[in-house]
Every structure is written in structure tokens, then in C-alpha cells.
């Protein structure tokens, strides 16, 4: 056990702090919208030049080209969170498509896409889930039939966030209908401006359309726009999903949320008393604090395992399930502590925190379901983590 970072890393931390104090005022105030603003694009460029994002992506693909160093990445994340600054553009192109291309793309594909994606010039969306293929993603039915040098795509995708503003899509399609389900899938990329694509916003329980449905009718895509080979799509998708699950259930997000609730419970008054003075709410708060702390230290444990190149086994498999659940319970506590105020939404008078607690409470449910439902996570924990037997296959009728 040694929780100190050591002099080399403390010096690096000072560098990051130096950047923040010199350039922090250039950071955009509003972020998280689907299409990055010019301000955010400029901020992203500045961050890449200083090695504060896209840090380990090779220079020839528009990254900073540093050696991978998990601790330095963590220090950057810590300092940006502390300063309340956006750590660059966060989208599926950067977090999922770029790592996939780096791992499995051709040289030409890397040259063509990585730099433009990193710099916010190309926005991607992910075409994975279908109405009939959620947890059982490999059963997907969107088909790509051969026609000369092209594939003709027909079918439908759902839960496609940012589809409305995306330039391109990375998409799983069935190219070999005669092969077993996992072996018949390919990973294609194509422009969202290709004729035959229709995007319909999908309004969720939050009242906002955070997702879309995407319909393909005879969409023509050159066969060359495939990543890895034909029938390799399932393998490629799994490489990508690995990157997604790492992001869901981040314990530092729960830490920020916990701090907000502690503040809220000190500021809000009920019957002339602070909410923190109510023993029941205080007990729930302390209970959640235990869980948040445990997951934060758990994160340190996983970090150490990756530094040593060890497989942390079950310790890694529980993160999405636990993290999303704790976030959801934190939002629930804030709502409950606010009582009737807690149900206010939209632009109502007396609204607190712009109605974000209700929004988070509902949106978190989406995160509990998305990226592998809680039930699928439990199957994974039981089967891969505990070595329990798989569900027997149902005999085909």
C-alpha cells in the first residue's frame, strides 16, 4: 500500500494545474450538446496540443503521442474535475470508434478518420441495438445484401444517441444470413447523408429526445467501408463495448453527486430545520457515503491492477452494476429529501438545481438498462466472475 503518487507524478500534476490556471478561462461554459461548439473544438485542440486529451493516440493520427500512463491520465481527470472544467469533447466517436480503429482498422482508415474525429470535425453515432435485439444484440436483423462492390442495407436501429447531428455511423449489420448468429455480422461505417436513411427522435420518459431511431431503406454502402473482415462484426463490437462499460458507473461521478447532496441537505430548510438535521435522511446519506467511498477505493484497486497488468477478475465486473445503482439511489435521496419540491420539473417555480435530480433519477434508469442491463450484468458476474453454469439453450421449435 502506497497512496502517494511520487515526485514524477506530483511534478506532472503541477504541470496540469499550470495549464488550468493559464488556459482555464478558455474552456467553454456549456458543453454536453450533441454537436461541439466552435469554442469546444478550439478547447479540444488546445488540450490535444498539451497532451491533456487524446494523450496516448499516436501523433500521425492527430493525437499527442505519449506513452500510455494510467496515472497521468488519472491525474488529468482529477485536476479537471476539481477545477470543474470539461476535459475535451466526449462522444462515442472518440470514446468508442477511435479505440476500435486503433485496434482493428486499416492504416488508410486510421489516417482518414482518427484525427478528424478527435478534433470534433466528424461526429459519429453507434448503430448497434435494434427493436428486436437489445440484450440479445447478436440476433440483430438489419441486413446488408451484396450488390457488386456495394452492400445494400435495410433495417432499423434504436437507442442511437446523437444520430440527428452525426455525420457518420458505425453500424452492425448482418452480411452472412446463413452463418450462425454471431458469425454473420459485419461492422460497417457510412455517412449519415447517404440516401435512404431516416432519423426519428425518440422521446424518453425524461421528456427529452436523448435518443433516436434510425431507419435504413436500400442504403448503398461501398464494401470497402468495413472494419476488420466480413463476419468479424461481433468481435469488433465486443472490442468497442469494452470501452463503453469502462465509462458507465464511474465512481468519481458518484462522488461529485454525493457532495452536491451534502450541500443541498445543509442549505435546504424544512419546518425551520436543515435537512441534514433529520435523522432519517442523514442515515440514508451516510449509508450512501459508505457505498460511494467503497467504490472510489475500489477504483484505486482496479487502477493498481491495470498498472501491474493483472486481471482484477470479478472486482472489475461489478463496476457498472454497482456504480449505476449508487448514482440512481443518490438521485432518489435528493428527491426524497426535497419532498414535494422534489417532484417539480421543467421550468416550474420553486424548482431546485434546474430539475436535474428528477432528470438524473429518470435518465439513470436508462443507464441501468443500457450498455448491458443490470440483469445481463448479473449473468456476466455469475458466469464469468463466479464460474456458474450458463443458461441451457432453448431447443429450436
Amino acid at each position: 500500500m502506497d497512496l502517494a503518487y511520487g515526485p514524477e507524478y506530483e511534478a506532472f500534476r503541477e504541470e496540469v494545474r499550470g495549464f488550468i490556471s493559464t488556459h482555464g478561462d478558455k474552456a467553454p461554459q456549456r458543453f454536453g450538446v450533441a454537436r461541439p461548439s466552435d469554442e469546444l473544438i478550439a478547447w479540444q485542440k488546445l488540450l490535444i496540443e498539451h497532451g491533456l486529451t487524446a494523450r496516448t493516440i499516436p501523433k500521425q493520427y492527430g493525437g499527442y503521442g505519449a506513452e500510455p500512463d494510467i496515472l497521468k491520465s488519472r491525474i488529468i481527470a482529477e485536476e479537471f474535475t476539481k477545477a470543474g472544467l470539461p476535459s475535451g469533447i466526449a462522444n462515442q466517436g472518440i470514446s468508442m470508434f477511435v479505440p476500435t480503429l486503433l485496434e482493428l482498422g486499416t492504416e488508410a482508415q486510421k489516417q482518414e478518420w482518427i484525427s478528424r474525429t478527435l478534433h470534433g470535425e466528424v461526429i459519429w453515432c453507434q448503430g448497434y441495438s435494434e427493436p428486436g435485439s437489445g440484450s440479445d444484440l447478436a440476433s440483430l436483423q438489419t441486413k446488408a445484401t451484396e450488390d457488386g462492390d456495394d452492400f445494400i442495407i435495410n433495417g432499423q436501429k434504436i437507442w442511437t444517441s446523437t444520430a440527428a447531428s452525426a455525420d457518420w455511423i458505425f453500424c452492425l449489420v448482418r452480411t452472412e444470413p446463413d452463418k450462425p448468429k454471431h458469425a454473420g455480422i459485419s461492422y460497417l461505417i457510412f455517412s449519415m447523408k447517404t440516401p435512404g436513411i431516416e432519423v426519428r427522435p425518440l422521446k424518453t420518459m425524461t421528456g427529452h429526445a436523448e435518443f433516436n431511431e434510425v431507419f435504413f431503406t436500400d442504403v448503398r454502402v461501398p464494401k470497402s467501408q468495413i472494419v476488420a473482415g466480413r463476419g468479424q462484426g461481433w468481435f469488433v463490437a465486443n472490442a468497442t463495448l469494452k470501452h463503453e462499460r469502462g465509462m458507465l458507473g464511474d465512481p468519481n461521478q458518484a462522488g461529485t453527486r454525493l457532495k452536491q447532496i451534502i450541500d443541498l441537505m445543509h442549505e435546504e430548510m424544512l419546518d425551520g430545520e436543515r435537512l441534514i438535521d433529520n435523522p432519517l435522511f442523514r442515515d440514508r446519506l451516510t449509508q450512501l457515503q459508505s457505498r460511494v467511498l467503497a467504490m472510489q477505493f475500489h477504483g484505486l484497486r482496479l487502477l493498481t491492477a491495470s498498472l501491474k497488468g493483472e486481471d482484477p477478475g470479478i472486482a472489475r465486473l461489478i463496476v457498472k452494476l454497482q456504480g449505476c445503482e449508487i448514482n440512481h439511489q443518490l438521485a432518489a435521496l435528493a428527491i426524497d429529501a426535497l419532498g414535494e419540491i422534489g417532484v417539480l420539473y421543467g421550468d416550474s417555480p420553486h424548482l431546485r438545481a434546474h430539475g436535474s435530480w428528477q432528470h438524473r433519477y429518470m435518465f439513470d434508469l436508462g443507464l441501468i438498462i443500457g450498455g448491458g442491463t443490470a440483469q445481463i450484468q448479473k449473468n456476466i458476474i455469475a458466469e464469468r466472475g463466479l464460474g456458474m453454469p450458463r443458461e441451457p439453450k432453448v431447443a429450436k421449435a
Binding site: L285, R291, I318, P389
Partner: protein, 364 residues
């Protein structure tokens, strides 16, 4: 930056596991329980050979001089094997009391035999840690103790007792001191010994070498971390047993572990318990490296782990179906061990109240 166990610590885990597998099989645990023995002399002696008794005793007094994280790994292994042995009081709380608050001569007199496992020390601090019930409380005046102390840990066959009085002091009393009445308490957990001490003008040796209040705080924090680690070990064993059982037991023509209802119970247990390990490691490490954080972390570690422990204990029993409910399988030894850990030295609700006080969320 390294948040994990050292090579030595992994070796300690490994050799403890092997040792306890051999000397504390379930049949032996059952034998000790059936005979209402305070502890297993075989297990205590075997642990002594590994240096467990002196794990926290400084090397100059014949101990191993290791950290509280090492002690937590031992507690985890003891819980894993429901080992009928003294530990929390004799190997953790008593050495801390003497190191922090004993005079040099008290240290020289008591630490070496404690480290060698030649004497066992019981500790009475329950009233300070979990409140006063049934009019308990020990008063000290002119080197004499009066009153009573409940829930004395490692009580049975203890050679000396370390007593916390109502005024914040610590005292050492011989197990056979005149005026001392010892009453064994029967708890659900037959693998560890609890008792009541009644004092009538009992001659005591006050610990005079340091800050007794600070020593008491550190003893309680350390013990809470040990109880959490014990539950971690017992809980992970219950999960392993549930997984094994679910992989063998067949109903409806399938092993029951292939049913999602059963599989999800196991996944939930594991995913709740695993983060507790990280929290316990941090809390234990803080006792040596960041002592200003320990009280809060110990309260969190024990409240969370023993809450999760209760969930694991009942769920693992349910996975075993009717067999889990029988005496035959012996699963109840783990269930009860987890049950005692939860109540001892502060239940989860009390610990969370303390945690809130420490953070200034409520007037102390």
C-alpha cells in the same frame, strides 16, 4: 501509487489459508462449539507459530511489528474459516492499548508474553463503543475498579483483562484478581467467547504511559475494522459455498445454478461484498498511514460490511434451500459469526450516527 497487497501480504494470506484449512476444519469447529469451549487450543497454537499473536506487537517486544492491514487479512482468514480463536482483543486491541498508553515497564512486562501467545488478553470497551445497557459501567478510583463491564471480547480463559472505565481511562486487571466475578455470556456465535466482568474493589494497574483516550479511540477503530474484515471473510466463504452448492444440486433436471433466479442471488452477493474489501483495505491502511481518517473510515467499513454481511448470510442460506437451514451443513456457523460481528462494538445505525457526528453533520 499502489492500492493493493504486497507480495508478503499475499504470502501471509496463502499460508494462513492453508494452515486454517488443516487445523480448523468444520468438524473441529463443531467440536469446540458442542463442548462450549472458549477457543481451540490447537488453532491458537498453530496461529501462534505463524506469529499471529504478535502481529501488531513491535519487534523490540518480540512481535512482528506489522500493520493493521496485515491484521485485517488475518481477521478475514479467521472469518473465512469460522476459526474458534482469540484475536480481536488479544492480538489487536490489547497490543494497541499497551503500545499507545502503557508505560515502558508495562510494555516490557505484558507485550512479550502477548506476542508469544503465552497469555491471552480480554478487552472490555463495549460501553464506550456501543453504549451502556443494563447499567453497565466501570468506575476507577485509587487503583480500584467497581461496577460491571459487558460484552468483554476474547473473554474465556483470558489471563489478563484491559478495562475501559467511565472516565476515559484504561486499566489492566489479572484474570484471577480477588473481587473479580466472571460470567460467561452465551451468544449465537459459539466460535468466539464473550463475557461479563463484575468488579468489587478490584485491584487494577492503570495504563499510565500515554494518552488513554487516544488509545481507546484507536483500539475501537482497529477492532471495528477487524470485525468488518471477519465478516468479509465469512461472507466470501458463504458465497463460495452457495456457488458450489448451486453447481451440484439438481432440480427440474438442471443444476439450480443455471437458473437465473439463483445465479442473480449469487451475483448480487458478490457485487455487494467486493467493494467492502476495498473500503476495509483503505480503513486498515489509514490506521498506520493516515490516522486522522481512521475513525470515519472504520465506521463506514464496519457499517457497510456488516449490512452487506447480513444480506449475504441470509441469501447464501436461501441458495442452499432446506439444507442451509439444517445444523448438518454447518452453514449457520458463518451466519452466526456474521451476526455477532454486526452487533459488536457498534451496530450500523450507531456507526453511521458517529460518522455524521465526526463530519459535523450533527452535534456530538
Amino acid at each position: 501509487m499502489e492500492f493493493g497487497l504486497s507480495e508478503d501480504q499475499r504470502m501471509l494470506q496463502d499460508s494462513l489459508g492453508k494452515l486454517l484449512e488443516k487445523c480448523a476444519p468444520l468438524d473441529h469447529v463443531r467440536e469446540i462449539a458442542d463442548q462450549s469451549k472458549a477457543y481451540s487450543a490447537t488453532v491458537w497454537q498453530a496461529l501462534g507459530e505463524l506469529g499471529v499473536a504478535g502481529i501488531l506487537v513491535p519487534e523490540e517486544h518480540g512481535g512482528m511489528g506489522q500493520t493493521l492491514l496485515d491484521a485485517a487479512l488475518i481477521a478475514e482468514a479467521l472469518g473465512h474459516h469460522v476459526a474458534p480463536s482469540p484475536f480481536v482483543a488479544s492480538c489487536v486491541m490489547a497490543p494497541i492499548a499497551l503500545v499507545e498508553a502503557g508505560s515502558p515497564s508495562q510494555q516490557a512486562k505484558y507485550l512479550p508474553p502477548l506476542a508469544a501467545g503465552e497469555i491471552i488478553a480480554g478487552v472490555a470497551l463495549s460501553e464506550a463503543a456501543s453504549g451502556v445497557r443494563d447499567k453497565a459501567g466501570v468506575t476507577a478510583s485509587n487503583g480500584r475498579l467497581n461496577g460491571k463491564a459487558l460484552f468483554v471480547i476474547d473473554y474465556g480463559d483470558a489471563d489478563i483483562f484491559i478495562i475501559g472505565d467511565t472516565g476515559g481511562g484504561l486499566h489492566l486487571v489479572a484474570g484471577d484478581a480477588p473481587g473479580l466475578t466472571k460470567i460467561a455470556l452465551t451468544s449465537i456465535d459459539a466460535t468466539r467467547s464473550l463475557g461479563e466482568l463484575q468488579f468489587e474493589n478490584v485491584e487494577a494497574e492503570t495504563l499510565t504511559g500515554g494518552d488513554a483516550a487516544k488509545a481507546r479511540r484507536r483500539m475501537i477503530d482497529a477492532a471495528r475494522i477487524m470485525l468488518a474484515a471477519d465478516t468479509l471473510g465469512a461472507g466470501s466463504r458463504m458465497i463460495a459455498k452457495a456457488v458450489d452448492y448451486a453447481g451440484e444440486r439438481k432440480q427440474f433436471g438442471r443444476v439450480i445454478g443455471s437458473f437465473q433466479a439463483v445465479k442473480h442471488m449469487c451475483a448480487e452477493m458478490a457485487s455487494e461484498l467486493e467493494p467492502c474489501r476495498s473500503l476495509i483495505w483503505y480503513a486498515a491502511h489509514s490506521h498506520d498511514a493516515m490516522p486522522e481518517e481512521t475513525s470515519l473510515m472504520a465506521a463506514h467499513a464496519k457499517s457497510l460490511t456488516t449490512d452487506v454481511g447480513r444480506f449475504v448470510a441470509r441469501t447464501a442460506t436461501e441458495v442452499h434451500g432446506g439444507m442451509g437451514f439444517t445444523d448438518l451443513l454447518g452453514l449457520h456457523f458463518w451466519f452466526k459469526r456474521i451476526g455477532l460481528n454486526r452487533q459488536l462494538l457498534g451496530s450500523p445505525e450507531r456507526l453511521r450516527q458517529e460518522a455524521a457526528q465526526m463530519q459535523g453533520w450533527v452535534a456530538a
